[in-house]
């Protein structure tokens, strides 16, 4: 694994202007994805993890949404300042994306084969014949038998698991350097989930493709990630190597997340859950956004936002508990 980063998000802020005010869906986050690395973004619904992915893809739609600040450096070019045409040649080609709902991500009235061959024709400049041949190879590659028949069928004729395989096949068809997977297994059965994850890992090892995996499922994180980023209310609260982070979660939110995961063979009377709710993004004040739900809440947490600081072994966390000068204030 090399050290330079393929995707380097710097101080990204994505805001949505609503009638009630500005929602800071993603607020000043920075992260790296190195070639061949799997980075997971974890968090509850509404924490901004999907918006981060959409921002990278340039799918934040004006006029409501806007990328207020930041640089998204991909392979040496800032995606935010590229022309529409240039961006189009990168999307689907160098960066591919898989969505949560395979059922609705494919056009219902076009055959699977046709939809699969489109990016090949556009980005790889194949002709129809070559594309068709490649489509059949790809279908076989994602573990579906009878490729000819599948290519001729329509999305409604296939199951969710098969469709997600097709989505993956489309995503990897142009050998992307980065694959963004937004909750790729959330809509699927557990048994299928494992197969899909295995497949993603396999393609990663074959082609040195990086994966930015977005999920709320810590099981998936443990299974897949090299590096984990935990998000809360549009901020990164903790990040680190997967083993380190699971062994020594620093931020109370991460600790809570890990505790609220049911463990097989250990039936507790009551499952742990983090008390309280995610704060309303419109009412956020200068503070640690987690303070209302935090067991270790201190005075400083209510008035000042903790910076993201190195703790140990490359692990970073944004919490006053680990700030030396903060301790003086208490």
């Amino acid at each position: 694994m090399s050290t330079h980063s393929l995707l380097h998000i710097q101080h990204l802020s994505t805001y949505f202007d609503t009638d009630e005010g500005t929602v800071k869906a993603v607020d000043d986050i920075s992260l790296h994805v190195r070639p061949g690395e799997i980075v997971c973004i974890v968090g509850e619904s509404g924490c901004g993890k999907s918006i981060t992915a959409l921002s990278v893809m340039g799918l934040i739609e004006a006029p409501t949404g806007r990328i207020a600040d930041g640089i998204i450096d991909f392979d040496g070019q800032n995606l935010l300042s590229l022309s529409k045409n240039h961006l189009r040649s990168i999307r689907g080609n160098d960066i591919a994306m898989i969505f949560q709902e395979p059922m609705s991500s494919l056009n219902p009235v076009i055959t699977i084969g046709e939809q699969m061959s489109e990016p090949l024709i556009i980005h790889k400049k194949m002709n129809k014949k070559q594309a068709q041949k490649r489509v059949l190879e790809l279908i076989t590659q994602v573990g579906i038998s009878r490729p000819e028949q599948i290519a001729k069928s329509y999305p409604h004729e296939l199951s969710g698991g098969m469709l997600q395989r097709i989505m993956i096949a489309i995503a990897i068809s142009c050998d992307p350097k980065l694959l963004i997977a937004d909750e790729p297994t959330t809509a699927l059965d557990v048994t299928i989930q494992a197969q899909i994850l295995d497949m993603l890992r396999e393609f990663r090892s074959q082609s040195d493709m990086s994966i930015l995996l977005i999920t709320h499922d810590l099981g998936v994180v443990a299974e897949m990630a090299d590096y984990v980023v935990v998000m809360y209310s549009g901020k990164i609260v903790e990040e680190g190597e997967v083993v380190e982070l699971f062994a020594n979660p620093r931020h109370p939110y991460t600790q809570g997340l890990l505790r609220s995961k049911p463990i097989i063979n250990q039936r507790q009377k009551e499952l742990y859950s983090i008390p309280g709710y995610v704060p309303n993004p419109l009412e956020l004040q200068e503070s640690c956004y987690f303070h209302e739900r935090c067991e270790h809440c201190m005075d400083i947490c209510r008035t000042q936002e903790p910076p993201l600081r190195d703790v140990e072994n490359g692990q970073k966390t944004a919490c006053w508990l680990y700030e030396k000068e903060a301790a003086v204030h208490v």
Partner: protein
């Protein structure tokens, strides 16, 4: 946007053969179960055969004026009698049907084409383009169509347009009146379709606007378009008849169902010679009703969401 225009026609012709598999077969099977729709279709087919093949078997197609045979009641030689110039009414009804059906279909094709094109552009590009197109559509919709048709028809007479051309101009007028409601529907559909997840997926794949519009959005509209197009034919036939009835559409001697019913304007013809105006009137009635019933059946099959 000449390129989009070209692509749109391309889709219209390519689509049926490209997607001929299960979806279409399923729809046809469902349609066959609807007896009323099948009946409607049968009547439409019958009218078409009658009008386009029927005259080949008639000995009176030359339309010669025959003074000895004026205003004869139906008899063995003239099944539906003769008109005031001694022409066979049955033959004229069949020939008139050719014109009426052709005008109906042609103006439908034209208005579907214009409506889809403008609606799609408005719905896809939104913004100022949308505003301009939809305001024009609104303007045309606010004017009641009959007076508008009358004004156009009167202008045609005023400009002394040769009767041979009138038919084509009537088609144009009808489609000019017909496209706005269609454009609205297409635009509405597009607006909802473009927010769907699979359209986001096409952005992610790096497809071009034109490809998204033509390959991904329009095929989703095909069922809607088929239904609207079918129902539109009926409407266009009716409008043409109305225009011709008032002497503002296609002019005699070219027969259309509308200008044949004009006979009913004459009190004596109306009371004494029903064979002059009942056959064309019945043809209009039967054709339009049949087309509408068939269109309703089609809609139930292709666009079940619209069913009440």
């Amino acid at each position: 946007m000449p390129s989009i225009q070209a692509e749109v026609t391309n889709v219209a012709t390519n689509r049926p053969q490209a997607v001929k598999s299960s979806l279409w077969r399923q729809s046809i099977r469902k349609l066959l179960k609807n007896k009323l729709a099948v009946g409607g279709f049968a009547v439409v087919v019958f009218m078409f055969l009658l009008c386009f093949v029927g005259p080949l078997f008639s000995p009176y197609t030359d339309n010669k004026v025959n003074m000895t045979m004026m205003n004869k009641a139906p008899n063995i030689h003239h099944w539906l009698g003769t008109d005031k110039l001694g022409r066979d009414v049955l033959t004229r009804v069949m020939q008139a049907g050719r014109i009426s059906l052709t005008v109906g279909i042609a103006s439908m094709v034209l208005s579907v084409f214009i409506g889809t094109l403008l609606g799609a552009i408005a719905g896809y590009y939104r913004g100022i383009v949308d505003q301009v197109i939809m305001r024009i559509a609104d303007l045309l919709l606010t004017i009641p169509s009959l007076p508008l048709l009358f004004i156009f028809g009167a202008l045609l007479s005023e400009w002394k347009v040769p009767t041979d051309y009138r038919m084509y101009i009537v088609m144009l007028i009808l489609s000019l009146v017909g496209w706005p409601s269609l454009a609205r529907m297409v635009r509405g559909q597009l607006l909802s379709l473009r927010e769907r997840e699979f359209m986001q997926a096409t952005i992610v794949l790096g497809l071009r606007d034109r490809r998204k519009l033509v390959n991904h959005l329009l095929p989703n509209l095909v069922p809607l378009l088929i239904v609207i197009a079918t129902l539109n034919i009926g409407g266009a036939i009716l409008s043409e008849s109305v225009l011709s009835f008032f002497g503002l559409g296609v002019m005699p001697p070219t027969p259309t169902w509308g200008n044949m019913i004009d006979a009913a304007n004459n009190m004596i013809d109306f009371q004494e010679r029903p064979w002059l105006w009942v056959p064309p009137g019945f043809s209009i009635f039967a054709t339009v009703i049949a087309i509408n019933i068939f269109g309703d059946g089609l809609r139930d099959v292709l666009d079940p969401k619209q069913k009440r």
